[in-house]
Amino acid sequence: MAISRTVLAAIIVVIVVVIGVAAYFLTLPTAPKLRSVKIALLYDPTIPILKVQGEAAKVAIEEINAAGGILGVKIEYKEWNTMKKVDVALAAYREAVVDWGAHYVVLEGVSEEMLALMEEGAKLYPRYPHILMYVGRASDVTVKVINEYDKYKFAFRMFDVDHDSNALNSATIFWDAKNVYGVNKIAILIEDAAWTLSARRGLRIETKHGVVEQKPFREIAKEIGLEVVYEAHFPVGEKNFLPYLEAAYARGAEYILAWTSWYTDTVTLAKQWATSIARDIYLVLAGGPNMWTIFWDLTGGAALGVMSPVYDIEDYPPVSPYTQSFVKKMHEKGLRVDLGAHYYYSAIYHIKEAIEYVAKQGRDPSNIDEVIKALETVPCSVHTLLPKEKAILGSKEGGRFHSYPAAAIPIFQFQGKDKIVFVGYGMANPYYKEFYPEDFIKKYFDTTPHPPKKPAELRGS
C-alpha cells in the first residue's frame, strides 16, 4: 500500500513533535524532594515547666507524623537532657547537630542557654546548617539577629520579645483596670529579672532596623489614667511578700499588678495575699503556675479572686482549630499547659508550613537557608494563640525580627474551684481590637464588659 507523500510528512512531523516534547519533559529538572526532617529537643524533663515544653513539641510532632508527616516524610526526633545547665545544653547541642545531624534544634526556654548556643551555632552553621529556636524572653537574642544577621540568621525566638510584650500586655491589662474594673490607684510589683528591664526602667535600643523604645510601666499606666501609688521590684525567688502587700495597702492601692514569671513563687504570693491586709485589693498575676487551672489546688483555694492569664482551660478561646484539642491532648497525658507550651507546640507547625512553602515554590525543602527565608515569610496558620496574620517572624518593625509580635492576653479570674471566668471588655479594649479579628472578639469575648468580682464578695459567697 502506497503512502502518499503528505501522509508520510505528517507522520514524520508528529513523530518529531512527540520526541521533542518527550525530550523537553525528560530533561526538565525534577523538583527537589525533602530528604528527612530531624528535630532535636533539648530540655530538662525533671523540671515540670521545662518538661511541658518538650512534651508540647512532641505532641505536635506526633500529630504531624500521624497525618503523614511533612511532604510525606515522617519527622524524626531525639531528646537531650540539658539539666538546665548552659554547659550541658551546649554539649547536647553539638551532639545533636554534629553527630546526629539535626536540622532543627528546639531548646527549652532558658535565655542564658539560648545566648550561649547562638554563639556556638554561629560556628557550626557553615558546616552544619540548622535552625535553632526557643521560647523565651531576652531582647539580646533579637538584637543579635537584627544587627548581625549573617552570623545569627539561624536563630529564632518562637515567642514575643520582652520589650514588645511588656508594652502591649501592660497596656491591655491597665486599660481593663481603668475601664472595666473601675480602679484608679494601683500598685505595681515587678520581678527584678533581665526580662523586666524595659518594664522597670523603660528601654531604648538602637538596631539596624531602627530605634526600639518602650516606656516603663508606671508611665504606661499614667497615660491610661491610672495613679501608681506604689511600685516595688522584688527579687527572683522572693518568699516573703507581706511587706509589699502591706505597703500597697498603706498607700491606698485598689489593684495590684504583680509582673511575674516562672522565677517567682506566685503560689506563695497568692497565699500570703489571701491572708494579708491586702486581700480585698484586686491581685493580677502574669506568668507562673497561675497560668494553670490547678493553681486553685496549688494554693489550696487561696487563689479565690486572683486574676491571671490561664492557658490551661480546655475551652480556651479557639484562636485556631488546634487550640482546644492541644490543651485536651496535654491533659490526657497528665500535663498542664502554660503560655510556653502553646508556643512550643505551634513552633513545630510553623516549621512544617515553612518547609511546605519552600517545596511549593519549587525550591529544595531540605535547604535550611530556604527554610529560614520561608520562616521569615510564611505565617503560622494554625498557631494556638496567635491569629494567622500575627503569627509572623519576619517583621522588621518594633525590634521583633525573628520573634512573633506580642499577643494581647486575655485575663481570667479564679472565682471558685473549676470556675475560671474571663474578665475584661474585649470588644472595647483597643488593644484587643488591634490584635484579634473582630468576629473572634465578638464570639469569644462578648460585646459587654465583664468586670471581675471583688475578692471580698467571692469570699462571702
Binding site: 511587706p243 506563695t268 497565699k271 491586709i277 496549688l298
Partner: protein
C-alpha cells in the same frame, strides 16, 4: 511614723518566731549530736508530702494522715541516724556527703512522684484572714505559727531543764567524752534527740503550708533560713538561736517596714550575719551546750 513602728515591732515578732520555729530542730540536733545535720530539709518534706500521700493517695482521714506522716518522719530520722550518721561519726566530711545524698534522694523521689504540677496542698489554714491588733491587721495564720513556735521553744527548754533525758542530752552536748566515761547510752540518746528534733520543723511546715508554696524544693529553702539563724546564734545553742531569730526578724522588719525597702531585707540580713560572725565567730551565744 507610729504605724511604721508598730508594723516593725509586730513583724519582728512574727518573722522572728517563724525563723525560730524553722531553726529549732536543727539547733537541737547540732547541739546534742554535734553534727551539721544537712539532711534537715527532709524534716519539712516528709510531714508535708507524707500527709498528702496518706490523705489523697491512700484515702486515710486527714488528721490520721498527719499522725502517720510524723510516724514516717520518726522512722526516717532513726534510719538516717542508724545507717548514715552513726556510720560516719568519726569522719565528718563523709557524713556530710552521706547526709546530703540521703536528702537529695528523698527530694528527687518526691519530685518524681509529686512534681509541682501535681497540685499538692494541705488544708491546714486555721485562722483565715487577719486579726486586729490595735490599728493593725495581722495575718492570722502567721500569728498562729509564731505562737506555736514560741510554745514549742518553751516546751523544749523545759524538757532540757526539767527532765532527766534533757539533762543527759545537755551533758552529752557539754562533753561527749566525759559523758561516755559516765556510761551514758549514746545510741539511745541520739535516737531520742533525732526524734525530738524532728517535731518542730514538721509542725511549722504544716502550719505555714497555707501561706507558703508547697513544692519539692521547699525543704531546702526553709533550711537556708534555719542555717542563718543557727549560725548567727552559735551552732547548737538554743539561747543563741532564740536571740538570733529575733535579731534577723528585727533587721528584716526594719528594712522592710521602717525604710520601705523589702527588696533589700534579705541582703541586709546576710550582711548583718557576716558582720556579727566576724565580731563573734562562734555566734551570739558563745556556748558549747544546747542550753
Amino acid at each position: 511614723m507610729y504605724a511604721e513602728l508598730m508594723l516593725t515591732l509586730i513583724y519582728t515578732f512574727l518573722f522572728g518566731s517563724l525563723y525560730l520555729g524553722i531553726a529549732l530542730g536543727f539547733s537541737i540536733i547540732t547541739g546534742v549530736l554535734r553534727i551539721f545535720y544537712i539532711a534537715y530539709p527532709l524534716l519539712f518534706l516528709i510531714p508535708a508530702y507524707g500527709t498528702w500521700m496518706f490523705w489523697r493517695d491512700f484515702g486515710i482521714p486527714f488528721e490520721l494522715s498527719i499522725a502517720l506522716s510524723f510516724a514516717l518522719m520518726f522512722a526516717a530520722s532513726v534510719a538516717i541516724y542508724k545507717f548514715v550518721a552513726n556510720k560516719f561519726l568519726e569522719a565528718e566530711d563523709y557524713m556530710l556527703a552521706a547526709l546530703l545524698l540521703a536528702f537529695l534522694i528523698v527530694e528527687e523521689a518526691i519530685n518524681l512522684v509529686y512534681s509541682e504540677a501535681a497540685g499538692v496542698y494541705l488544708p491546714t489554714l486555721i485562722i483565715p484572714g487577719t486579726i486586729d491588733i490595735g490599728p493593725l491587721k495581722i495575718p492570722g495564720q502567721y500569728l498562729l505559727v509564731s505562737l506555736v513556735s514560741l510554745a514549742m521553744v518553751a516546751l523544749y527548754v523545759l524538757f532540757f531543764v526539767k527532765t532527766k533525758t534533757g539533762l543527759v542530752m545537755r551533758a552529752i552536748s557539754q562533753s561527749y567524752l566525759v559523758s561516755k566515761i559516765m556510761g551514758i547510752s549514746f545510741d539511745l540518746m541520739f535516737v531520742i534527740a533525732m526524734i525530738v528534733a524532728s517535731i518542730p520543723p514538721g509542725i511549722v511546715m504544716l502550719l505555714i503550708a497555707p501561706v507558703w508554696s508547697l513544692n519539692p524544693r521547699v525543704g531546702w529553702t526553709l533550711f537556708t533560713y534555719g542555717i542563718m539563724v543557727a549560725v548567727l546564734g552559735g551552732l547548737g545553742n538554743l539561747k543563741g538561736t532564740i536571740i538570733a531569730a529575733y535579731v534577723i526578724g528585727f533587721v528584716y522588719s526594719v528594712v522592710a517596714f521602717a525604710f520601705y525597702q523589702p527588696r533589700l531585707s534579705g541582703l541586709i540580713c546576710l550582711i548583718i550575719v557576716v558582720i556579727m560572725l566576724a565580731l563573734r565567730p562562734r555566734g551570739l551565744a558563745r556556748a558549747e551546750t544546747v542550753w
